[in-house]
Amino acid sequence: MKIIGLIITIVTGAFLVYAAADFPAWADPNSPASTYLSPYFIENSMKDTSVPNFVTSLLADYRGFDTMFETTVIFTAGLVCFILLRISGRKEPETSHYRHVLTGVTVTLKEGRKIPASEDFERIDDLWTPPDLIIKTGCRLMIPFIQLFGLYVIAHGHSSPGGGFQGGVILGASIILLAISHDLRTALERMREKVVAILCPVGVAIYAGTGTLCLLLGVNFLDYSALASVLHVDPIAARSHGIFMVEIGVGIAVMTTMIWIYNNISSAGKYNQGL
């Protein structure tokens, strides 16, 4: 196998090197890629969409259709992880352990009995390790700021690096951080599985819905300029707003998907205390 791999690799590599001979040199301002289409985007982005960040305008407007499916890919990934891993309708184990938070005494209950949810007791599993107080507290402090920053990144995508994907990932990371620093159950209390699973399609649906709204308003799919009539602004500003709407959708979808994938993979679909 190794030999075959080596041969294939060398042959392919040699072929690619051979092909690279005709490529323009690195950072050549006159390469076709830099002279054919990109000038149009750079020069007209402001005029067409009044979005200073060309990447954003290109991402969400000129090639907004790609981006919609990109978001769908994310959603698909979350769904596949769920459908592959989630163990549904699984009954509780016979013995369950609860830990008294203040004293640290662990109670073990048989025949699947439960302790009514209270502040003093936390449910733990066999592979429970004592959590580090510093990490817990530190993360608790950081998480709100992380989320705030995530919102900023989404909102400010128009005129600075950022946008729905980046902001969404940051938001998702905040919840995942909670799950890592405490345990999955704590995170799930903040954000239930059902909420995640419904918000995720909703996020993408916001994107597609915006496009469909334009379609219903009588122009082509994703042609935000039609929103002008709804938002009572000029078509160019309408495009900018349309881009913002879809960015929000992207943000929601990406955040929830990140959480969804983490929940399923970290607990192998059992949704116990996780890592």
Binding site: A33, G64, F65, A77, I83
Partner: protein, 496 residues
Amino acid sequence: MSQQYPALLVIVPLLSAFAISIAGWVNKRLCFPIIVTALSVVVYASIGLLLTVLEKGVVIYHLGGWPPPVGIAYYVDHLNGLVLVVVASVALLNVIAAKKSIEQEFPDKAGPFYTLYILMVTGLLGIVVTGDAFNLYVLLEIAALTGYGLLAMGEERAPLSTLNYLYMGTIGACFYLLGVGYLYIVTGSLNMVDIARLLPPLYQSRAVLAAFIICMVGVWLKMAFFPLHAWLPNAYTHATSAASSLIAPLVTKVMVYVMIRLILTIFTPEFVFATLALKNVVVWLAVIAIVMGAILALAERNLKRMLTFIIVAEVGYMVGGAWLGNRAGMTGAILHIANDALMTLCVFLVVGNIVYKVKGYAFENLQGLFRKMPFTMGAFVVGAMSIIGVPPTCGFFSKWYLILGALQAGHYGFMAALIFSSLVSVVLFFRIFEICYYEPFSDHHGHDHPPEPMDEAPLTMVVPLLIVAVILILVGLYTVDIVNHIIKFAIPEGLV
């Protein structure tokens, strides 16, 4: 509304996918009606689109109102108009037929399953309808990811074989992406028609040659063209019948479509057949693919797995036909996309019914099925005849054009391979008929037959199957119309 058909084709299933996935958490019983309505709308739109194309010629749809090459455009001509109808109708028929087995195999995850199902259909439709090289890659990945999900939900070996499929599929998609990157670096454009306009001066450039070859290898990986087919049999065999009967007919065919689109639209036939000296090499590869597929199928003692190897051989048919480099061969390849999709659907639906009733698809499970499930087996006979290539089933007619192309190209090896594979399929299928018909047989005149009671699959599974069987014959009888009114215009004048 009619000018929005291209958008509807993709939007309706996409939105309904979200609706289904939400409904899966709220009320499971809604999922099936939603998916059926959505797919019916898609079928309607695709047929409407095809009629518009037949009437007015090529339909171009600017997404986001941006004219190409700035924005992404949908580009529908006779070629993908035809493929769209096939994809949509196959998806609709299959979901109706698969309902029971889906409920039987995973009662609690039906919602997510339907979501993946319709997302996959969205991806395939998008691949077919799009006119933008990069957009095609994104949809390729959607179809691939949903496919992994659907295939992996099968037997216990499914995850492993799916993981192998994932490796191969990713390499394939990445190769395609790289090829598009090569085109972009030399032309600066991503729109297929625009690239085709910019390429001719660059035909001698190594980069274009590399772009073409890399794209081809990528697409061949995805369509399981012979040396690169290793992932397909396991992945399809271990999947659930609902998934395999969607993926087996469509994915490979759509990839063949992509290949033909690459040859005809992006790199024009002049470049592919005239400038490059690869024509005969590829046809000989196809010959090997056909022969090996047939032989490997002979070695199988398990119906579903045997069929997967037949798919490998059929891919050889289409690649070879497309690369013969003449009109008849290309016609045969395009016609075979439609026919093969239908006949593969037919036989895989049969497998679905058998699995539903008998819980197995090894040869020994098939004994006495002709008495047990007469209608299913009747449809199976039609499908088998079509694969063998017996008139008036449609399989014969595409094979006719392929052989004609081989004759006109003077490529007798390909012709011989086609004949050979037909003969092998006769053996394959009559071996199965014998088992289904005569076993369990007894040695003196089989008088003491235990008369099994008839135990046919539920109506919702049998009726779509019979519809497919009828379509197989109707398509055969109307071949000349399909060829004269659709495929004739799908092939550029330059190709004689």
